[in-house]
Symmetry: C2
DNA sequence: GACACCCGAGCAACCGTTTGCATTAATTGC
DNA sequence: GCAATTAATGCAAACGGTTGCTCGGGTGTC
């Protein structure tokens, strides 16, 4: 029922190869013929079958995007941005959810491999060695993780954690806690490393609690332990946990920020809407999605900005595996709202290094967005 | 580099057709041969190329899912559920975002058509006639809309709106407002119709304000008008708008629920986390996603539960277009939290028809989930 | 006027699978 | 012991495109 290339060829009285070229290499066909073919294609409603094309070109114009949990509010903005960027470049995007399960991740990469030109692996829970191995099957870009030899885009959560700790110590807090994230999370380790260091420089103590599930429930469940730890400020692995913690503390009669200050990470939309509004480290999730797609498609021979001279010069030769191995790091920033306040050692007030939010204005547009071609911070490995 | 069926055939010393049958019709091949082939396939890491298979079978084992806005918290649970259900049946899912743009919807259906076995159209903004036309190009299941002759799954927002209005009037409110949703939304019309009728029966007035963008900002922007309208209770098109409205009212010095009661629709995760916690109409979004996938795959010949006798009996003959046209309606329920309170005409208290939430328990599991095979409420058209 | 050249179009092989049909060997019935 | 059936496999034609190659004919050059 749907029109094929043969139908168009018949209708316009040319060979199918001419029709093919009309679409994939217009300069090779006489303008007159070309317009006739295009007219026929138009009236027949012809669209080339991408699967068939992929069979011979080896390029599917599809991308896989694997995330831990679609419903976790951290991911939708990233998915949206990635999808949008992909579509601008005429790519479609498979989205898959692993439910935080490393096994599912592996299986999904295998299942998707033949159907996509590359896979975006978001906050993977797999081991690095498995990721490396999978990357030999299909091009991979890792988000929120650094894997030696693989292109990656990560948020500088280390910097964010440091800013958060500095903010808290400047407010006069001396006894801090860190609510860790899920086991196997690169981000969680990174936060811990940076927060510990920052606390040490500020001569404050830092109690690490975790690992925990990265959900609201994970935060709520820790309220009791936080109270028992006798700390006056808490940095949580993400906003969801921070919000859950505030809920939990509230039901224990502990007030935020009067009794305990809480800082989240991610700046999900939700954090602007809770009471108190959450002080948090904003991570440029949308930018990460866009950047990751750009990195994956960097050498797309169909794309004008491709590395090739322009006209696709034949099939990629074997050994041409010089895909970028750049690792892009995106800046984070501290957004101070209402969940943090002065600590017992009466601090001077607010730190000067961070953004203090004045209105509901979209500080989103200010997120740094590097060009992949010349990453602002390429980390050695 | 990746192993093809030919590699496996060579390695196991049989013809490629035998390898093919080993996977797609195992009963036709000698058990001994079969296990040898499977062993070879295993060691070579062979996975059949789905695109190639699709070329000849006509079945891609892919589904398209088109939503208005991935980042709108209403959608992620639906996407997640649909993806999960699809994967259980060995389908992959393309997700696309239209940014609330009808033109993008049409283009996406066209672009996806050849690559999928069907498309789930979520809260479409297109005209009904265009949708019908597109459904001749690729099987469609519509979510949150009723289109004559097309399979659909809708939430019974009419019932929800009625429950909400009854709840408010029972509390003693006599002057209500409705914050309408986006133009072209079936749901918005449905809510308006039911709310108007319910208000009339309760001898209350209902002012309709809108249409509005279905976002937090859309709600905030209407705060002034709501105050000016002199109403004591508001039903919003969705939770996001309700929350925005509460914010807006708050900054005008209007307290919720003391001065004005607010009810949302959807029961997104967020609505449990704001202060005051939002009274809202819970819609079974996850169930909708699962059900829609089931409807689309209902006659999947590969699936054990398919309508065919079992073994796929050859190609579908032309004219076998008896895809279900059932329209499934999912029940909604009112969840009473803290954003609604007594009105000026001192009411009796709480209505008896709804769920009053006692704890943070997951009332989610209670969502009704009909079997497609025998829909509980099939609407005539 | 012969030659080299290029433009435009056709030919046919190929991508990785599926599947109707033909072929062979083994089994059954009588 | 022979025809008829059945089981297991091979053969080759699709599916819808792409692309290196061939080929005819018009043009430009000397």
């Amino acid at each position: 029922m749907p029109a094929t290339i043969r139908d168009v060829a018949r209708a316009s009285g040319v060979h199918i190869s001419t029709v093919s070229r009309t679409f994939s290499a217009p300069h090779l066909v006489n303008p007159e013929t070309r317009s006739r073919v295009m007219a026929c294609a138009e009236t027949l409603g012809y669209r080339p079958n991408r699967a068939a094309r992929a069979l011979i070109t080896g390029r599917t114009h599809n991308i896989g995007l694997i995330v831990a949990d679609i419903a976790n509010p951290f991911f939708p903005p990233l998915i949206k941005a990635a999808e949008s960027q992909a579509r601008h470049r005429d790519y479609h995007i498979f989205v898959a959810d692993t439910n935080e399960d490393a096994g599912a991740e592996e299986e999904l990469v295998h299942a998707l491999a033949k159907q996509v030109d590359g896979v975006l692996l978001c906050s993977p829970r797999m081991s690095n060695s498995l990721i490396e191995q999978l990357s030999r099957e299909v091009p991979l870009v890792v988000i929120n993780r650094q894997v030696t030899g693989l292109p990656a885009v990560v948020m500088d959560v280390g910097q964010g954690a440091r800013l958060a700790v500095e903010h808290l110590t400047a407010l006069g807090h001396r006894d801090l806690a860190l609510l860790g994230g899920p086991r196997g999370s690169w981000t969680s380790r990174e936060i811990r490393r940076a927060a510990t260091a920052a606390a040490r420089s500020a001569e404050a103590t830092l109690t690490v609690l975790g690992p925990n599930p990265p959900t609201e429930g994970g935060g709520t469940a820790m309220a009791e332990q936080v109270r028992r730890a006798g700390v006056t400020a808490v940095l949580a692995y993400n906003d969801l946990m921070a919000i859950g913690l505030i809920e939990g503390l509230d039901s224990l009669g502990v007030r935020v920020p009067q009794d305990v200050s809480v800082v989240g990470i991610d700046d999900i939309a939700l954090s602007r809407l809770t009471r108190p509004k959450l002080t948090t480290v904003a991570t440029p999730t949308a930018a990460a999605g866009r950047t990751a797609v750009d990195m994956l498609l960097q050498y797309d021979p169909d794309h004008p900005a491709a590395s090739r001279t322009g006209r696709g010069g034949g099939r990629t030769t074997a050994g041409d595996d010089r895909r970028t191995t750049a690792q892009v790091m995106l800046q984070t920033e501290l957004v101070i709202r209402d969940s943090t306040g002065p600590g017992p050692a009466a601090g001077s007030g607010r730190t000067g290094t961070a953004t203090t939010e004045t209105g509901p204005g979209p500080h989103h547009g200010a997120a740094p967005e590097p060009q992949v071609a010349d990453p602002p911070e390429a980390v050695a490995s």
